[in-house]
Symmetry: C4
Amino acid sequence: MTAPIKPINLFEYETLAAKHLSQMALDYYASGAWDEITLRDNRAAFERYKLCPRMLVDVSRRDLSTTILGQSLQMPILIAPMAFQCLAHPEGEIATAKAAAKLGTVMVLSTLATKSLEEVALASKQTEQEASSIENRFWFQLYVHRDRGLTKALVERADEAGYRALCLTVDAPVLGRRERDRRNQFALPAGMELANLVTLTDLEIPYNPGESGLFTYFLEQLNPALTWKDLDWLQSISHLPLVVKGILRGDDAVRAVEHGARAVIVSNHGGRQLDGARASIDALSEVVASVGDKAEILVDGGIRRGTDILKALALGAKAVLLGRPVLWGLAVGGEAGVGHVLELLQDELDIAMALSGCAKLQDVDPSLVVRL
Amino acid sequence: MTAPIKPINLFEYETLAAKHLSQMALDYYASGAWDEITLRDNRAAFERYKLCPRMLVDVSRRDLSTTILGQSLQMPILIAPMAFQCLAHPEGEIATAKAAAKLGTVMVLSTLATKSLEEVALASKQTEQEASSIENRFWFQLYVHRDRGLTKALVERADEAGYRALCLTVDAPVLGRRERDRRNQFALPAGMELANLVTLTDLEIPYNPGESGLFTYFLEQLNPALTWKDLDWLQSISHLPLVVKGILRGDDAVRAVEHGARAVIVSNHGGRQLDGARASIDALSEVVASVGDKAEILVDGGIRRGTDILKALALGAKAVLLGRPVLWGLAVGGEAGVGHVLELLQDELDIAMALSGCAKLQDVDPSLVVRL
Amino acid sequence: MTAPIKPINLFEYETLAAKHLSQMALDYYASGAWDEITLRDNRAAFERYKLCPRMLVDVSRRDLSTTILGQSLQMPILIAPMAFQCLAHPEGEIATAKAAAKLGTVMVLSTLATKSLEEVALASKQTEQEASSIENRFWFQLYVHRDRGLTKALVERADEAGYRALCLTVDAPVLGRRERDRRNQFALPAGMELANLVTLTDLEIPYNPGESGLFTYFLEQLNPALTWKDLDWLQSISHLPLVVKGILRGDDAVRAVEHGARAVIVSNHGGRQLDGARASIDALSEVVASVGDKAEILVDGGIRRGTDILKALALGAKAVLLGRPVLWGLAVGGEAGVGHVLELLQDELDIAMALSGCAKLQDVDPSLVVRL
Amino acid sequence: MTAPIKPINLFEYETLAAKHLSQMALDYYASGAWDEITLRDNRAAFERYKLCPRMLVDVSRRDLSTTILGQSLQMPILIAPMAFQCLAHPEGEIATAKAAAKLGTVMVLSTLATKSLEEVALASKQTEQEASSIENRFWFQLYVHRDRGLTKALVERADEAGYRALCLTVDAPVLGRRERDRRNQFALPAGMELANLVTLTDLEIPYNPGESGLFTYFLEQLNPALTWKDLDWLQSISHLPLVVKGILRGDDAVRAVEHGARAVIVSNHGGRQLDGARASIDALSEVVASVGDKAEILVDGGIRRGTDILKALALGAKAVLLGRPVLWGLAVGGEAGVGHVLELLQDELDIAMALSGCAKLQDVDPSLVVRL
């Protein structure tokens, strides 16, 4: 009993993580845009959906595995792209990648990583080899910069390093106003850098008095003129399957598919971009109904419990992406922490499925949820 | 005024009971699964239904009696199956059984009782004889173990001891994650045992560091492969009428009836299994509409006031089952406490019916409730 | 500024009144049945209705007068029947009657008054004479006792004393369980009596240990066998117009009219009878739609602001009855307090009508409210 | 970091302003009528509408300019008419006018200004000349007094001074009951006067013990008999385009248009008139649907964030009016404070539009909002 007790759910990781993070990092991870209404609503929305479990189904053998973009995953839980993971732990994105690889799921590496995509790919592959499960379960998240050459170089490097999909973030023509970051004048600590970009240019997160440095970076570097046609350009420079992240409308999802997207991630960027946007789980049904089986639909935003995932699957998502809780695990215990966070959620989903009469993911159907 | 004042409602029993229970027992009784959303919603849901009382009906003589499975009951309030009642009081299930027998209602004895089913049956029959009301108002709740022989032996013993129904719990292929129990590493105190099972095997609730012993017990002993077909097997080994407990969907209720269930209990296991499941009162109408008069529908979950029962009856339930409040009464005053809890609720229902223009249970109709 | 500031709204009267009342009286006035859900919902329900005011109507001359049962009233605000007003002020019902008479509205005297109906009628008439407005604006509220002779005697005395209507309370076959009264073992203080009954019988509110004396009184004395047919009996012994108080369903309102009621009061008895009953304002529309113009519809329950009255009128009520706030005024300032409470509410209604484009009560139409 | 930090949102201005204002002024600005339900609901209502942003639209060049009544505005944010601005800052309405002129938007000057309409017009024109943007972006808000001559004189002076529209407030036949003002016995401090009226008459805000002086002023001076026909009279004495402010119903909006209104402002007067009135954003859709393109629809009430404006535009408003936040800016920093408040909101709207796929106001369509 005197040995440290491991957290038993993600909320305990959240509490613990706060003790491992600087105020600036904690605020950066925790905050949403403006009044953080969408941030809160992402959680609250899940309570609006109630489960109607099915009984007396043989659930003695459960299987949580799935395939996304043709890749096999051990669970329908991917790791969402998140910037600056070295703020949470010295090994940053490498630790996260190893945990994902060990547990057989996909990590989506951010353009704004603090470890280079080559390092991360290498760590992931080595871990997979140890587990004899060679799948290259890592995708590259792309922010399209004003500098097309830089963007193209990133895409080519990702392809070369073995990334299996390009995950284009489309909800950030400018950065959302995160007021905590603005008050903190968010900037990267000394020694931390944009590891994917330093070798290409001298880009860095600027220090801008009275402003979030990241906000300024987006304003100066990212391309707010991006349109659906640019998806064609992307596909002309890379054969990697395209995933479009940040969709909250059925018609946009249809457009994504028409322009070649193989998967769509229903997301409001964790409440960090447009405050007041609908909760992602509230947008999911519309997207699923619009797209049908023409693309795979994923969703993120507010996932904290296995039952949240079960609701998302019942509403038509193929899988979910996990964001902040991964950072909490990373802050608390590095690779092991991330792994434990994933295991906790996997275990919760496993039990939730058993209690709902679902032995495998295909058994999860829309009748399992009602809106209150 | 210096004499101790008796509680005047069930909430006062809840407060008092907390002083009579160990933290482990209190937590075990009080807790729900994961975030305890369903636990709370079971209560909150009742406030979503409003009563539309009927006036100027002759309610001078009220009759709360009913029949369930052909047995006469003095009130439409049964005692739900609950494990380990010796945690609340040394006489445990025997005290509960006597109180039920004295007040003319059914007690459902748990497979996981801390008094043997034979002892409980005997106590119940003796009490009934004293009251000259010989009905054997006791049912046996069944958890189907992986060991079919053990399960069969339990059923045969229950039949032999005079139990009048088998109440099959179908919502527990695994145990719900009750985090308080996990933190407490729930286990039975020394001297307390699985009274129905010790004579058959050496089964006990294991001590499992960092885990609830009961969770482990379920994982190891109970059969997660149970399906509707097993209802046929049960009926082949016992002529006792079958009650299926733990249904939250209309289609499952229909399946239960098709496989021989004579009664269905709409229940989410007091919020202790699948957190996020709909409140049982919210599922009731769908079940009633699906089953019609092909089986008797009961409901449990969150019953604390006579008006809760009136709402359940108006929505189509034949009776309700009372859970935690029975344990509060047991903890506070043993048999007398359980009896008083039942009397309080009976009295409340009696007054609520008078105020609604219902002289007998058959007068309670759907027009008495509206959803807000 | 050192002079005492008069309250400017009814809530300030509520706060002040608490200082003038014994705990037993305060609890008796304030409490609702059981969990006081309906008590709170009576207030909360008003916020579910929003006003849609009409602009640019000539509201320079406003007229709040109306007629109820053919009697002219200066405002659509009657004083609800309330027992034991001497608990609030030594002059009790006499003070209330004078205030009502002075302001030109109807007081409904309770059977359980602490001043006799003859005294109250006299005080009312004298006040009306001083104001040269002879209308006998007082009604008698009737509880039908088991003793029919006593009931008949009451009705005959009321008729003789000049009461202009019989207001039959139909929602109290038994008394609602008001737990504060039960804990206080509610009884009348020495020197206070059932002034309408002492001359007929030796009836009094009994002291009953562990119980509310009023609850016991109802159990022993009132007739729980009353049905719609008894309205015929009442009309056979009195020519007074009949008002039925305590209706929450359209079909009951229709029955009341079919049995001769000239007016129906939509009411849940201030949340004091069946807890969980719908808010009276929520039941109003159904009653209005069912009855049409065959009877006058009044409503009580939770009226605290002029805008509450405006909403009730818009939903189809001809007038409202005011309960607890009258007692607050009475406790704070006797007749003057009651008068001021009425004036405050009259003034608020006057302003609310002006701001809604209503110069007279007939201008208030259903389009003024929407349900949120 | 030791330099004073500028507020980064309007709520910070609210907090700061409290330190610059007397209690009487603070209460006067902050308060709503009666229970302040509508005041709160104006804010809460915005959360009932959720945004559905559109992605991958070229938003590299954003344009927030619009035209209202044919005048060009740099942003769809006008300054609502508000009385007594010298309570917030010695330069009062002049400071506000300069800020509006500098930022290229319209200020609506109140009849009850503490600076004369001629002074304000002059200040506005001078500021516009410095910015080489000569538009006379100032309107005159009119309260029609009982004294028609005075009213006519005001209108003629406004016309002569260059005001470009008459904004007729129609929701104040009497003043709403603002209880804080009543308790404060609201009156203007010595040295402050009704600058538009002193030259015409000896009108002033009276001191009335136990009452708000402004309430008394309205009762004595304003015309509660105003009807739609008076719009014809107004148009007969002035060629200025007519704006009707204070509409909450579709039929009233239609009447306004039929009587010549060129624009309609959906408003509940900031919750200061009829408490319980619907939130202005909740009334907007009905007005838009009724009027179509026959008039320009504006809305005020509870605007605090750029996303509030985006929602209003999506629901069909051409622009919004900003009230209390302007006073907060004025109290904190005079002209500069007002300007910064406008800039903050303009910046927020700009970002919200970028994040919603709207490069210009015409891109904002109804599909951007859903009601939760």
